[in-house]
Amino acid sequence: MAILGILCTTGPYQFQNIDTVIEITKSALKKNHEVQIFLLMDGIYNPKMDQKAKEVYLKKKPVDEFLKELIDKGAKIVCCGISLITRGLDINGSDYPEGVIIGGLEELAEIIENSDKFISL
């Protein structure tokens, strides 16, 4: 049982990265590892609530719901506050489901400190 840190800098749908983050996190949690994710740059779009990916052509579960489930299963998800206010999202978290943490780079520093392994996607 160890801690996995993940950095993701891309948003949902346009790039596959967050799908891979979700896959890896699900598997890691199942194996009783701890997972701490830092979302930077466009990465902060991923937990945006009300994504309607199920209703449109994609017909799949939206990224925000996946991330909410990961949080419920114990994953820590931190969004970079600077990145999100730059892009017009609410610093108070009204765009995000409960449990998403809004933080600074000191949180990234802390995740790196906590992690036994770290990957960038």
Partner: protein, 104 residues
Amino acid sequence: MAKILYLIDKKYGEEGLKLVKAVNSSGKHEIGVILIQDGIYLALREKKQIFKLVEEGISFFATKKDVNMRGLSEKIDRTNIKLVEYSELVDLVMEKYEKIISYV
């Protein structure tokens, strides 16, 4: 000596392979390379080089799901590259290897 895993996820991951070779040439480490997402295409474009690196003792992995989505299961040379589930990737990252180099 360390056990090092390279994670390559971009279709132009040649720079990553160069780093793998540079580390391998020191002969000090045990090296694995795992291709994910569009990194899979590297297995097509760098077939010969990967064959050579496998001969030199480097382990190559690719995520089965990414290979299958891309319709490449017949094109990937399984004698050189081992297909793994994402759950096995987690074991490689968390247990089998000590250092992870995400060259993404």
